[in-house]
């Protein structure tokens, strides 16, 4: 019989838990069966995390003199802090509260109520046994380094960096491409207001480039991250630009003189050319060009050096090597953006085989005044103006064969394209859509506008796009075959040009990014936020935030909002000056330690040292991260860990196996 007075609270979570777990029965069972273990109160409640639920606990702490609290609700990753705070405010040390999950680990994964209920009992029993061994603890205080790393220089990253820099704190921005700007810099117009993308983006890019609080690394990547919130160490690889930025004035002569022209697969989306030494576009920030060594004649053949010859300041440096820089930063914002779905994966849409089938990004460049055609909308031959254009929605989105999710921006983007085509060419425009999704401010109005412009809307997922003429009038055209689902008939629509509104996909290297920063991503590869509604820019890893499309497909306003939100979180933390950390630490009992030194090289954080004069080992709590590996390895049992002590884990084990339950009203699940 435990001397503790334990309160047990079973959450219904609406019907999320109560639907598959008989919460009333679990509460009754805990109150009766676990009485011997010290349970003096056992309740069930609709929403334990609500203020009323929390007050319930606080009231019991005061009135019933609870010394321990067990809440059975959702995953500790969601609400552990909530209930610890509730206990703290109720006058109980927060670490004497234990949250066990009967939702993610029970009700949501089972459908049989009897099974769910029995499992929930075992889980509650485990929590009760464990909480008896919990010790009152105080959180550790760690100072926060005010420097923030922003990874990715698209609109989300730019917004975040400027918000932080303007608040007076230093930012390090890392961009993989030679210039910041991201996908937005490729666009001509932005929906629904049709602002010129460059007009609104370029000033911000310039601000980032010249801001005294921003240190910008473009053509660079983060290669290593270690440490923890407030105290990360990051390594940045600056790829060799082959241009000395101290000397370069960005005059552009090198680009003019470079004889090697290559297709630009990144900024021009494969629709235009650049030189082997290049800035992606004239307004690039920073203004310094880079030499693409894979295509540079000098690097390939050892001769040429035209750029070097003509550079007025002697800034070309073929001998430059990749450089590595290491910085201490307090927090990190990841805004790495998205990649376009490869439309060649849908052979029946003909992209790659039919010349006049374009992707959305290709069309952005085609319609961009600074693009390869100077904004003239023409067919792949570079001359012919299309008389009819089909815009296909949901290409690679909302399709189990490719990506099951909705890419969120395609409807509005397709409407924007329809408008631009109508405006510039007067062509007939056909939008093939599945559902028209225009939920944000001004979006539905834009749809109305495009409707009134005379764009044809055909509801149906396009079956195939072919150049095989079947009927007269189809020769030489691209034919869209579709069921017009609103009339229930097959249609063949011959057009001159097709634009595929291709899906937004996670960056191809999402796995490496997630691994590098120690955060999680969904099956598809979108980075996962801490809470889908209440904490959309934080991650499960303290001190690391996400913004923009790295988290999921979204449009410019939403990306900017997330960038700003992440910045606000970062600044808020910096202003706290220090953060409270879980006091999960190992310590060595000096009397028990025999100095065997087994533990000495088990700690990757070098928190364990050997004290020669006393012949014992010692843990430095400032370096210890609380993994517990040394605790589990000490042959003498001399190392103990807080929060997850041997006794607590063994007790939880007994609890889960119902070893201490004498009443036999339990049938194992």
């Amino acid at each position: 019989m435990s001397k503790e007075r334990i309160g047990v609270y079973i959450c219904h979570c609406g019907s999320n838990i109560a639907g598959t777990v008989d919460v009333v029965e679990v509460a009754r069972w805990a109150g009766e069966t676990l009485k011997e273990r010290g349970v003096v109160v056992s309740r069930d409640y609709k929403f334990m995390c609500s203020s009323l639920g929390q007050e319930l606990i606080q009231k019991d702490i005061k009135e019933q003199g609870l010394t321990r609290v067990v809440v059975a609700a959702c995953s500790p990753h969601l609400h552990e802090q909530t209930f610890r705070n509730a206990c703290k405010e109720g006058g109980l040390n927060p670490y004497l509260c234990e949250l066990v999950s009967i939702r993610e680990q029970c009700s949501w994964i089972h459908s049989d109520k009897a099974v769910g209920t029995e499992k929930a009992k075992a889980i509650v029993s485990g929590g009760v046994e464990k909480v008896i061994w919990n010790e009152p603890l105080e959180p550790l205080r760690v100072p926060i380094n005010p420097v923030t790393l922003v990874v990715g220089g698209g609109i989300a990253g730019i917004q975040a960096a400027l918000e932080i820099a303007n608040s007076g704190y230093p930012v390090i921005m890392v961009e993989r491409e030679p210039s910041i700007g991201g996908h937005m810099a490729q666009f001509d117009k932005t929906f629904p207001t049709l602002d010129c993308a460059a007009c609104i983006l370029t000033p911000r890019m310039v601000e980032v480039g010249s801001h005294p609080n921003v240190k910008l690394f473009s053509y660079a990547e983060v290669t290593n991250v270690s440490g923890y919130v407030g105290n990360f160490q990051v390594t940045i690889k600056q790829k060799a630009r082959s241009v000395n930025t101290e000397l370069c004035t960005g005059c552009g002569i090198c680009q003019e003189k470079c004889p090697k022209k290559v297709v630009d697969p990144v900024f021009e989306a494969g629709l235009g050319y650049r030189k082997a030494i290049y800035t992606p576009f004239p307004q690039a920030v920073p203004k310094y060009p880079v030499i693409d060594r894979e295509n540079c004649t000098y690097f390939l053949k050892g001769t040429c050096r035209a750029c070097e010859k003509f550079c007025p300041t002697g800034a070309i440096d073929f001998t430059q090597q990749d450089e590595y820089f290491t910085f201490d930063v307090g927090q990190i914002i990841i805004a790495t953006g998205w990649d376009l779905f490869d439309a060649r994966r849908i052979p029946q849409y003909g992209y790659g085989r039919l010349a006049n089938v374009f992707t959305s990004l290709e069309f952005e460049r085609l319609s961009n005044a600074a693009g390869p055609t100077g904004g003239k909308i023409v067919l792949r031959d570079g001359v012919t103006v299309p008389k009819s254009v089909a815009i296909i929605h949901c290409v690679g989105s909302r399709d189990r064969n490719y990506n099951p999710y909705c890419s969120a921006i395609c409807c509005m983007q397709s409407l924007k394209f329809a408008h631009i085509v109508r405006e510039r060419t007067g062509a007939e425009v056909y939008n093939f859509y599945l559902e028209m999704r225009t939920p944000a401010k001004g979006y539905e109005e834009f749809y109305q506008r495009v409707l009134e412009e005379g764009t044809h809307f055909i509801r149906g997922k396009v079956a195939e796009i072919t150049d095989a003429a079947r009927y007269p009038g189809e020769e030489g055209k691209i034919i869209i075959q579709v069921e017009n689902t609103l009339i229930g008939k097959q249609m063949r629509v011959p057009v001159d040009m097709v634009i595929l509104s291709a899906a937004l996909e996670p960056r191809r290297d999402f796995k490496e990014v997630a691994r590098l920063f120690g955060i999680s991503c969904s099956e598809e590869g979108w980075l996962i936020e801490r809470h889908p509604k209440l904490d959309p820019v934080a991650t499960m890893t303290e001190g690391i935030y996400i913004a923009g499309c790295a988290q999921g497909p979204k449009d410019i306003p939403a990306s900017v909002a997330q960038g700003a939100a992440a910045a606000a979180r970062v600044v808020g933390k910096i202003q706290q000056k220090e953060i409270l950390m879980e006091p999960i630490r190992a310590s060595i009992d000096q009397d028990k330690c025999s100095g065997c030194r087994i533990c000495n090289n088990l700690c990757p954080f070098n928190a364990i040292s050997f004290i020669e004069e006393r012949m014992v080992s010692e843990v430095n709590p400032a370096l210890c991260q609380g993994c517990g590996t040394c605790v589990a390895a000490c042959p003498a049992g001399a190392i103990s860990g807080t929060v997850f002590s041997d006794q607590a884990i063994l007790a939880q084990l007994d609890g889960l196996l119902l070893k201490n339950v004498k009443v036999l009203d339990f049938t194992p699940a």
Partner: protein, 322 residues
């Protein structure tokens, strides 16, 4: 390489040319085909429209018969419909233990049994391009089909649907294995946009106008692309495009002349074999003009009308005989 061989009803008679050409090229390709003992019809697309379990049992009898052959675990079918039915039955049995159990109860009534997954069902094209390989084929080419414009035509059931974990051996929308094979044989291969479109299947029997329209699209497509002939790998496709081409022309008042040959015949020609030994000449749309482009002379076939033997069963009379 040894394979069990399931010819299917079509190859017995209407697609005999497919069968004999496949047999003719087997030896130079190093393939040995062992015909499944006393095989039965796979049910085409008809049996499953009437009776679900019996249609699987019908196919499973063939699998059981083929599994008796211990020298190989590979079952090859030249007919796309047979191939799909055999493969689908095996995979559905693997995926559903209850189906497997029921089928085996039925098979037991006929003294047979089959454990799903025992055989690997393959299409003849798959075997030739993947087991023999393009390089080995290229080495045997003596008379490249130079100058011949061919439309590679796959039809439906060789690449669709995607079954089981591995799916089909080639892309369901845009397969390329036959294209590559024909290139290896030296032909000029057109990028035929209709290569996986439907030949109409049994539609000529259900709705003539629908069936003819499907035939028209393909023949027109190949003709628009200036193909000399269509190369196919399925007896149903060949039958529809070849035998019904005349009726289709009559229906639409068109004058297409698009010969349809089997890929096995093309391989044989490239290997320098005698066209007659490959069954060339039995097609209804005369392929001789096309083949003359590559210098292949096909003798005028003898017109043989076999009379039914004495043991023949009574025939339903044809109206014109009345």
């Amino acid at each position: 390489m040894k394979y069990s061989y399931f010819p299917g009803c079509s190859l017995e008679r209407n697609a005999l040319a497919y069968h004999i050409s496949a047999m003719a090229i087997a030896e130079p390709l190093g393939l040995e085909f062992i015909e499944v003992e006393d095989w039965n019809c796979c049910g085409a697309t008809e049996y499953v429209s009437v009776n679900l379990l019996a249609s699987y049992a019908l196919v499973a009898r063939n699998l059981a018969q083929a599994a008796k052959e211990t020298r190989t675990r590979q079952l090859v079918a030249p007919c796309s419909a047979c191939y799909l039915n055999l493969k689908k039955c095996d995979i559905y049995m693997q995926e559903s233990p209850s189906l497997e159990e029921k089928i085996n109860i039925a098979l037991a009534a006929g003294g047979l049994s089959y454990k799903s997954g025992t055989l690997k069902v393959r299409h003849l094209l798959d075997v030739i391009v993947n087991d023999v390989g393009y390089e080995a084929i290229a080495q045997k080419v003596t008379n490249p089909l130079k100058g011949l414009r061919v439309a590679p035509y796959y039809g439906c059931m060789i690449v669709r649907p995607k079954l089981g974990k591995n799916g089909s051996f080639d892309n369901p929308e845009y397969p390329t294995s036959l294209d590559k094979l024909l290139k290896v044989l030296g032909a000029t291969v057109i990028d035929f946009p209709l290569k996986t479109h439907c030949c109409g299947g049994h539609m000529t029997q259900i709705s003539e106008s629908t069936g003819f329209e499907l035939i028209r699209r393909l023949v027109k497509g190949a003709s628009d692309y200036k193909a000399d002939l269509i190369v196919t790998l399925c007896p149903m496709c060949q039958l529809n495009l070849d035998a019904f081409q005349g009726a289709m022309n009559a229906h639409f008042n068109t004058e297409y002349h698009m010969p349809v040959l089997y890929f096995t015949q093309m391989i044989g020609l490239a290997f320098g074999m005698d066209p007659v030994s490959l069954g060339i000449g039995t097609e209804l749309v005369d392929a001789r003009p096309a083949l003359s482009k590559i210098g292949v002379e096909v003798p005028q076939p003898e017109v043989v009308v076999k009379r039914p033997p004495k043991e023949a069963l009574p025939m339903p009379s044809m109206p014109e005989e009345k």
